[in-house]
């Protein structure tokens, strides 16, 4: 007994060591390519090179002064913010209907609303191109907004309905008994109480739109391109370190937003 205990501890620690090693390996493989773009973006050469010979912010300046890059960035931001506004409102209303309103139909509506999560994006993109060409919104600002909204709304519905299930429904009844209408009860009590979930849903919606390349690839015309689409073009025709700059900025921006979402989720009652 006394002899077996240390040997078991030894085998456990060896297992742990292997686990840590492999987990570390996986993390390095996942993160390394993303981290590598940072030094590449600081390289002075006209082409992508690693490791860089020296460090310069030249390509950051290039990005900020190139009208095409700036236009693409602003377009992506405008689309992203519109999608965020639209899907947060629509998704929250859908979540309220699923959790509170529809007694039997909830699961069906839930399945329909979250379908874009499981349909391959490329299939969706082709379908949306055919449909939008017919009704003449392909390539327009609102075409992007609607197409991205359909992709983003499931995240809002899932996050908000999870918060609604956790929220004690009798609180809403209490508000009604105290003189509120159903709408007032939701507006004054339910929505403020689930604010962190609303913000998290909004962030996911924004990122879904902002990161999307597939749908934009099909919908974009020559003049109005979103940032990911512009990156594709750059990659195809003249690979410059500006690409690495955009990749770096995009990564930092996304990380910041995800960090914010994570912080909101863990500090729910803060």
């Amino acid at each position: 007994m006394a002899a077996s205990v240390p040997s078991r501890q030894r085998s456990v620690s060896l297992g742990r060591l292997l686990l840590v090693f492999f987990a570390g390996l996986v993390l390095v493989f996942l993160a390394l390519p993303t981290i590598v773009v940072v030094p590449v973006s600081l390289s002075p050469t006209e082409y992508l090179s690693f490791p860089p010979e020296s460090l310069t912010l030249r390509w950051y300046g290039e990005f900020l002064t190139d009208e095409k890059w700036v236009r693409a960035t602003l377009l992506s931001l405008r689309i992203g913010l519109s999608v965020t506004l639209l899907t947060t409102i629509v998704g929250t209303m859908a979540a309220l209907a699923i959790v509170r309103g529809l007694r039997g139909g909830g699961p069906l509506v839930n399945a329909l609303v979250t379908a874009p999560l499981v349909i391959p994006t490329i299939v969706y993109a082709i379908a949306i191109l055919l449909f939008f060409s017919k009704i003449g919104v392909s390539g327009s600002f609102w075409g992007f907004v609607f197409a991205h909204s359909a992709l983003a709304v499931p995240y809002v519905v899932l996050i908000v309905s999870a918060a609604l299930y956790r929220f004690d429904a009798s609180t809403e009844l209490a508000a009604q008994s105290l003189g509120a209408s159903r709408v007032q009860a939701i507006w004054h009590v339910t929505l403020p109480a689930i604010r962190p979930a609303l913000a998290t849903g909004a962030i996911f919606a924004f990122l879904t739109s902002f990161d999307d390349a597939t749908v934009s690839f099909f919908l974009a015309n020559l003049n109005d391109v979103t940032l990911p689409r512009k990156m594709f073009e750059n990659l195809q025709f003249f690979v410059s370190p500006v690409l690495a700059v955009v990749a770096t900025l995009l990564t930092l921006f996304t990380l910041a937003l995800f960090g914010a979402a994570q912080w909101l989720r863990t500090n729910r009652n803060g």
Binding site: D168, S170, A193
Partner: protein, 368 residues
């Protein structure tokens, strides 16, 4: 409390009438043709096991359930078709249902805000309501910083601040521990008396109902089994369900025996009989009919054996302070419980055969 505060929160209770209420969920009738009339300023408890329909009645009065059949009146006005927010009814929930993102004062001010009362008027009324539940100075606190008892006081203040003529309470003390529950029972009773509010109070705790209510409606299977004062419910239960549900009781098997113009009760498994006096439903009785005799343990006296009177074997004596619980095996094999004064138990030991006695007019007999 200062006199001004008392003036700000004064409730004029109104009578409530539930008439012919029926509510079914699928094939199950949660409430089955219930009629209930509550006087102005009265405290009525709806008492019953879970699934007896008591909460459904409360939710229908509050406006959260629509009756299939029947009407609800408050102060003579039919409110059956009004939405919950227009009924002017205060409601207290089991889990408090306070608004977690608001302070104590904001919670209490919410019904005032919904009535477009703001500024100084609202602030003064909130202060008065806080004083009423003895939480002066807690207005700025967050809900999460309060104990369960304090949260329920806030819920009470919030339900009373707009002076509704009717207060509904859905097991409001169910989430509190025993000591706090007893303290809050007295607190709620004190407020109700002082303000003159009409209260309909749902509970499955018979002690709570007996302590607090002016009248109790005992419910089972969607119907009111008995609607009477606590004393009447306890002393003269209308049927076997009420007799078994409220209070400790002995239900002794046997049969009815005619004795000239009067009735006696013969205990099962013996020839022993006891006299019956002041019984209600003797019309349907027949000689030899199977029946159950209900007698409260505190009414049973243990003494010497007498011929023709009930007797049994003492199997257990349980001391509980001032009284002793004496468990007696009857000839039928069933157990009877007597709760006797400790002094009277001095001569009784386990293994004795003892005679049992009780007042003939304090027992109830139900045909079985």
């Amino acid at each position: 409390m200062n006199p001004k505060a008392r003036e700000l929160v004064s409730i004029h209770g109104k009578p409530v009438a539930v008439r012919g209420l029926t509510k079914a969920y699928g094939a199950v009738k949660a409430v089955d043709d219930v009629t209930l009339e509550v006087n102005a300023g009265e405290f009525v408890a709806l008492l019953g096991p879970s699934g007896s329909g008591k909460t459904t009645i409360l939710m229908t009065i509050a406006g959260f359930e629509t009756p299939d059949i029947g009407t609800i009146e408050v102060g003579g006005r039919d409110i059956t078709a009004l939405p919950a927010g227009k009924r002017e009814i205060g409601m207290v929930f089991q889990r408090y249902a306070l608004f977690p993102h608001m302070t104590v004062a904001e919670n209490i001010a919410f019904p005032l805000k919904m009535r477009k009362i703001g500024g100084r008027d609202a602030a003064a009324q909130v202060e008065a309501a806080l004083a009423m539940v003895r939480l002066e100075g807690y207005g700025g606190r967050r809900i999460g910083q309060l104990s369960g008892g304090q949260q329920q006081r806030v819920a009470l203040a919030r339900a009373m601040v707009y002076q509704p003529p009717l207060l509904l309470m859905d097991e409001p003390l169910g989430a509190l521990d025993k000591n706090l529950r007893e303290e809050m029972q007295l607190e709620i009773k004190r407020l109700q008396k002082k303000l003159g509010a009409t209260v309909v109070y749902v509970t499955h705790d018979q002690g709570e109902a007996l302590t607090m209510a002016n009248r109790i409606a005992v419910m089972s299977d969607g119907r009111i089994q008995q609607f009477a004062t606590p004393m009447e419910i306890y002393d003269r239960p209308a049927n076997l369900f009420v007799a078994g549900f409220v209070g400790e009781t002995n239900l002794i098997d046997g049969e009815l025996a005619r004795d000239g113009a009067a009735w006696r009760f013969r205990l099962a498994g013996s020839a022993d009989t006891v006299a019956l006096e002041g019984q209600d439903a003797v019309d349907g009785w027949r000689d030899g009919m199977r029946a159950k005799l209900m007698v409260r343990p505190e009414l049973v006296r243990v003494g010497p054996i007498r011929d023709g009177a009930p007797s049994g074997l003492v199997e257990e004596l349980i001391y509980s302070g001032g009284t002793v619980v004496c468990m007696v095996r009857l000839p039928s094999g069933a157990m009877a419980t007597a709760r006797i004064a400790a002094a009277d138990a001095a001569g009784v030991t386990v293994g004795d055969t003892v005679g049992l006695e009780w007042p003939a007019d304090r027992v109830r007999v139900f045909a079985a």
